[in-house]
Every structure is written in structure tokens, then in C-alpha cells.
């Protein structure tokens, strides 16, 4: 059974990482005067996304549903998040590499091309969807039904067997 204190702590860490991610996505363009600062921010942001994915995977492994082997039930709920996290992380790394490559020598110059603009828009939109799905998933992982045997789980198990 997931303890309330532990869950609160994990939730706090996850939301803090999300907030940092949002902050970097929003204001990193303003901190481009020194490319090193932007580089460090981007690295931390990508690591934070990775950490968040690892944390949510660990929370899923901790569920009773996962331990009894009902993986499909978890995937049905959290598939979108897992897919979007992977997409977002990929887009972020690509965008960060591209931008840093263009701005490393001279940070305060116009670097935008159509391709970069498209990637930028997709990365930022994916970020918003990732925030929404991640927040929702962390809240749904507080579902007590996922951590102990209950009629709901028995029904789900019966449906999975059919």
C-alpha cells in the first residue's frame, strides 16, 4: 500500500521538476546572453524529463496491478504519457542541440529557419501536452485501487482474461 507521506513527497518532486521544465521552456530564450548558461539549463531540463519518466515508471512498478501482471491495465491508462514523454524528450534534445549549435559562437544573432521554427513549435506543443498528461498521471497514480485487491481490480482482471 502506498503511504500518503511517500506519495506526497514523490508528487512534490515530480511537480517541482515539471515547474522547472516549464520555466526553462518559457524563459530560456531570455537567458541566451551566455551560451553556457543556456547549455546547462538545457542539460538539466533533459535530465529532469528523464528523471520524471523514471519516477513515474517506478511508481507504476510499485502498483499492485503491475505486480499481479495486469500490465495492459496500466498501459491502457498511461500509454499516452509514456509515448508523449519519449516524443517530448526526443524533440527537446533535438531542439536543444540545434539551437546550441547555431548560437554557440554568437548567442545574440538571428538563427531562425523554417525547420527550426517548426521543431520549436512542435517541441513546445509537446511540452504542454506532456505537462498535462504527466500531472494527470501522477494524480491518477494516487488511486488506492491500484495498490490493493478490490472488486474493481477483480473486474478488470476478469475482463483481461476474456
Amino acid at each position: 500500500m502506498l503511504q500518503t507521506n511517500n506519495y506526497s513527497l514523490v508528487l512534490l518532486i515530480q511537480l517541482s521538476l515539471l515547474a522547472f521544465d516549464l520555466f526553462v521552456n518559457s524563459f530560456s530564450e531570455l537567458l541566451r546572453a551566455a551560451p553556457v548558461i543556456q547549455l546547462v539549463l538545457f542539460i538539466i531540463q533533459d535530465i529532469a524529463v528523464l528523471f520524471n519518466v523514471i519516477i513515474i515508471l517506478l511508481m507504476m512498478f510499485n502498483t499492485y496491478v503491475f505486480q499481479v501482471g495486469l500490465l495492459s491495465l496500466l498501459l491502457e491508462r498511461f500509454r499516452a504519457l509514456l509515448v508523449l514523454s519519449a516524443v517530448y524528450l526526443t524533440l527537446s534534445i533535438c531542439l536543444h542541440c540545434w539551437i546550441m549549435n547555431l548560437r554557440w559562437m554568437e548567442s545574440n544573432r538571428f538563427v531562425w529557419t523554417d525547420g527550426l521554427q517548426v521543431l520549436f513549435v512542435f517541441q513546445r506543443i509537446a511540452a504542454v501536452l506532456y505537462y498535462y498528461l504527466y500531472k494527470r498521471s501522477t494524480e491518477y497514480l494516487g488511486d488506492p485501487r491500484l495498490y490493493e485487491e478490490c472488486p474493481w481490480l477483480r473486474d478488470a482482471f476478469a475482463r483481461a482474461r476474456l
Binding site: 500518503t4 516549464l22 544573432r109 504542454v128 474493481w152
Partner: protein, 417 residues
């Protein structure tokens, strides 16, 4: 001789069997005459011997006098301690008194195991003549001790008076004088200082309220589940979202007004706009993204977008929250699409001439202003839609449904069957 063997075998365990056959021992008292007293450290033993000696003398006199002394025994109650120790004694017919005293004497020699009652009893027998003797008792004991040990054989003390126990426990001194040691019983009242006076108050009254609040707090803490934490976090974020919706609507409205004012009538002063707004363009864009991201996530939460069929139904039925989330998402995409133009405006002063060719301002800025206007309209409309239904939150409804529903007894029976 049989007694000796018995004593040798089980001295410590069978002491209580000795008194009934004391008269047998009396016939052969010299069988073990000069046993050196091993208990030289025993402070109480020797005075007793003296007292016993006195008692013996008294017995002789008593035997001469006859059964008078029963009255003395009963009448010698002077000090309260004596009276206490004498309470268990019951008056007996005077014929039995000498024998009884002898028995007591034997019992006293054998039963010196630190029992306070016995000690006082012995003291009674010795001190029945006067009360002063009992009060001076401790002093006497110390003074007479060495002499008595030396003159054991000479005085002809009976062998059963000498105790050769292996480990005789020392009699606690305080046992004679200390008050009865009982555990103090807690009183139901507590004395509380009120106005320089201690007044009795009920213990339960005093601790009642604090205990109750503590208990309630513990109850609240213990009854919190992970679902409650989730719901609380979600509600907190909804408050932040509400603030962001309003702030974003106001900010975008202010932004578009500033743009139109700086651009002049019929966008005739675009160079002025570039000069004035180039500092604000990129921060404004970043702030737009920040607020739009929060507002979009909040609007998606309201619709519960992740539940596909439910969200589609909401869109098809033109639910305000569904429309608002769509408007916010559209505004976000439109705003992001102007990132390049915003950066171009931001670099207006510092960039070279190739970035802003002469006469290109209108072609670049006109769509940018129109997009900003559309974003403002979308954001404003979304805010109005959300403000009409502030209580609708489908995600919270589903979070609240995360309960473990245990089947009732009837259902349980049917399930097991």
C-alpha cells in the same frame, strides 16, 4: 540427632518445621555447645540473645509466680509501634503462656529472615517491662555486640539460639522505622494556580480539550489517503489556473492595445512600434507561452481530455470548457508560430541591416499584429467561457471516483457464490 541430620540436609528449606519439636531440642541443648557464631556482623542477633536471657530469667520468675504475667503481656502497650506489633496477638489462657513463649523463642531463632513483624514481636517479648527499653534498642545493640560474641560459650547460650545460616539476609534497618511503603494513588483532582491560589480542578477537565484537538488532528492525519492528496493538488492547480486565465486575458488585452497605440492610425507608425516595442517583444512572447501553457493545461484538466470519448462528446455538445480548451490550444499554436517574428523584433536594434530591409516592416509586422489580435480574442473568449462555468471539472470528478468500493454483504455473498 535426627533433627541435626534434618538440619544439615535442608537447613534453608525446612526451617519452618523446627518450632513444633522444640521441646525435643531442649533436652539435648549441649549437643553442639560451642558453635562459634559465624554471624559476627549480624547486629541484631546478639542483643536478642541478651533479651532472651532476660526472658529466660523472667520465665523462671513467672514459673514461680504463676500465671500472672498474662496481664503484663497484655498491659504493656505504651508506644504505637508496640501496639501495632501486638495486634495479631490474641489473649490465651495463662497456663499456656510459658510454653508459648518458648515456642516463640524457637521461632524467633529460626525465622530470622528479616521479617519485620517477627522482629517487633521478639522485641515485644523482651521489652514488655518498660517502654524506654524499646526506644533505646538500637544503641544497645551496637554496644553489646562484641562482648556477646566473645562470651558465647561462657554464657551458655542454647545451640538453637546460634544461627549458622549460609547467607542470612540482613534485616533492613529502615523497616522498623519507616512509614509503610505503599504506592501513591493518583488523585482525580489537579491543583491549578489561579490568581495566586491553587484550586482543585478535575484532571479530565484540564486535559480534555487539548487531548481532543490532538486526537482530531491525528484522526485527520491518519484518514488522509493518496486520493485526498491527489484531489488537493488538483484543486490547488485549478486555483492557479483560474488566476492564469484571468491574468492572461488581461495581459493579452493590454498587449494588443499597446501594439495598436504604438503602431498608430492605420499602422502608419510601424517604425515607432519597432523602436519602442523591441525591448518588450521577446519577454512578452515568453510570458505569453508561460501563461498559455498553464491555461491550456488547466483547460484540458477541466475537460479531462485524456478520456477520449468523453472529451469528444464534450466538444460535440459545445460544452464551454471544451470550447475554452480548444481556444486556448489554438491561441498557443498561433502564439508559438510568431516566435521567429518576435525574435526578429527583439533584434531590431542590434541586428545588421539584412534582418530588417527597408520597407519590409509592414509585411512582417502586419500578420504579427493580426495574430496577436486573434490570440487576444481567443484568450478573452476562452476566459469568458470558463468563467461562466467555474465549477465544471471533469478530472476532479474522476479523481473523486477513485474509491475502493467494497461490496455490501449481499453483493459479497453473490460474488463468493
Amino acid at each position: 540427632m535426627t533433627m541435626e541430620t534434618d538440619d544439615e540436609k535442608g537447613y534453608g528449606t525446612r526451617r519452618r518445621e523446627l518450632p513444633p519439636i522444640s521441646h525435643v531440642q531442649k533436652h539435648g541443648p549441649r549437643a553442639l555447645p560451642s558453635l562459634p557464631s559465624q554471624d559476627t556482623t549480624d547486629e541484631i542477633q546478639v542483643p536478642k540473645k541478651k533479651k532472651k536471657k532476660k526472658v529466660k530469667q523472667e520465665e523462671e520468675t513467672e514459673s514461680v509466680r504463676g500465671p500472672k504475667d498474662g496481664g503484663i503481656e497484655m498491659g504493656g502497650l505504651a508506644s504505637p509501634r508496640q501496639s501495632e506489633s501486638r495486634e495479631p496477638l490474641t489473649p490465651e489462657p495463662p497456663e499456656n503462656l510459658p510454653q508459648r513463649k518458648k515456642k516463640k523463642k524457637k521461632a524467633e531463632a529460626v525465622d530470622q529472615d528479616g521479617d519485620q513483624a517477627n522482629l517487633v514481636l521478639n522485641g515485644d517479648m523482651a521489652d514488655q517491662n518498660s517502654d524506654e527499653e524499646t526506644t533505646r534498642k538500637p544503641k544497645k545493640k551496637k554496644k553489646t555486640k562484641p562482648k556477646a560474641t566473645e562470651s558465647d560459650p561462657e554464657l551458655g547460650i542454647e545451640d538453637d539460639d546460634i544461627i549458622t545460616g549460609p547467607a542470612q539476609p540482613p534485616i533492613p534497618q529502615h523497616a522498623l522505622f519507616s512509614a509503610p511503603q505503599g504506592q501513591s494513588q493518583p488523585v482525580a483532582k489537579v491543583f491549578v494556580e489561579r490568581g495566586r491560589r491553587f484550586q482543585p480542578a478535575e484532571r479530565t477537565d484540564r486535559h480534555g480539550p487539548s487531548n481532543q484537538t490532538e486526537h482530531n488532528f491525528m484522526d485527520v492525519q491518519s484518514t488522509w489517503t493518496t486520493r485526498d492528496v491527489s484531489v488537493r493538488v488538483h484543486r490547488g492547480f485549478r486555483v492557479i489556473g483560474l488566476f492564469c486565465h484571468g491574468f492572461l486575458a488581461g495581459y493579452s488585452f493590454w498587449n494588443i492595445i499597446v501594439l495598436y497605440i504604438l503602431a498608430g492610425d492605420q499602422l502608419s507608425a510601424l517604425s515607432n512600434l519597432l523602436q519602442q516595442y523591441c525591448i518588450l517583444a521577446y519577454p512578452a512572447q515568453c510570458l505569453f507561452y508561460f501563461l498559455l501553457a498553464l491555461s491550456t493545461v488547466s483547460a484540458f484538466d477541466r475537460v479531462n481530455l485524456a478520456r477520449g470519448p468523453h472529451a469528444i462528446r464534450s466538444f460535440l455538445t459545445f460544452e464551454p470548457v471544451a470550447l475554452a480548451s480548444f481556444l486556448y490550444f489554438s491561441a498557443l499554436v498561433l502564439s508559438l508560430s510568431q516566435q521567429m517574428t518576435s525574435d526578429r523584433i527583439n533584434l531590431y536594434r542590434s541586428a545588421n541591416a539584412s534582418l530588417w530591409l527597408p520597407g519590409s516592416e509592414h509585411s512582417v509586422l502586419y500578420p504579427w499584429i493580426i495574430v496577436n489580435l486573434v490570440v487576444t480574442l481567443l484568450v478573452g473568449l476562452a476566459w469568458i467561457l470558463l468563467s461562466t462555468t467555474p465549477d465544471v471539472d471533469h478530472t476532479e470528478e474522476s479523481l473523486m471516483a477513485m474509491n475502493i468500493e467494497f461490496p455490501s454483504l449481499e453483493e459479497k455473498g453473490s460474488v463468493t457464490a
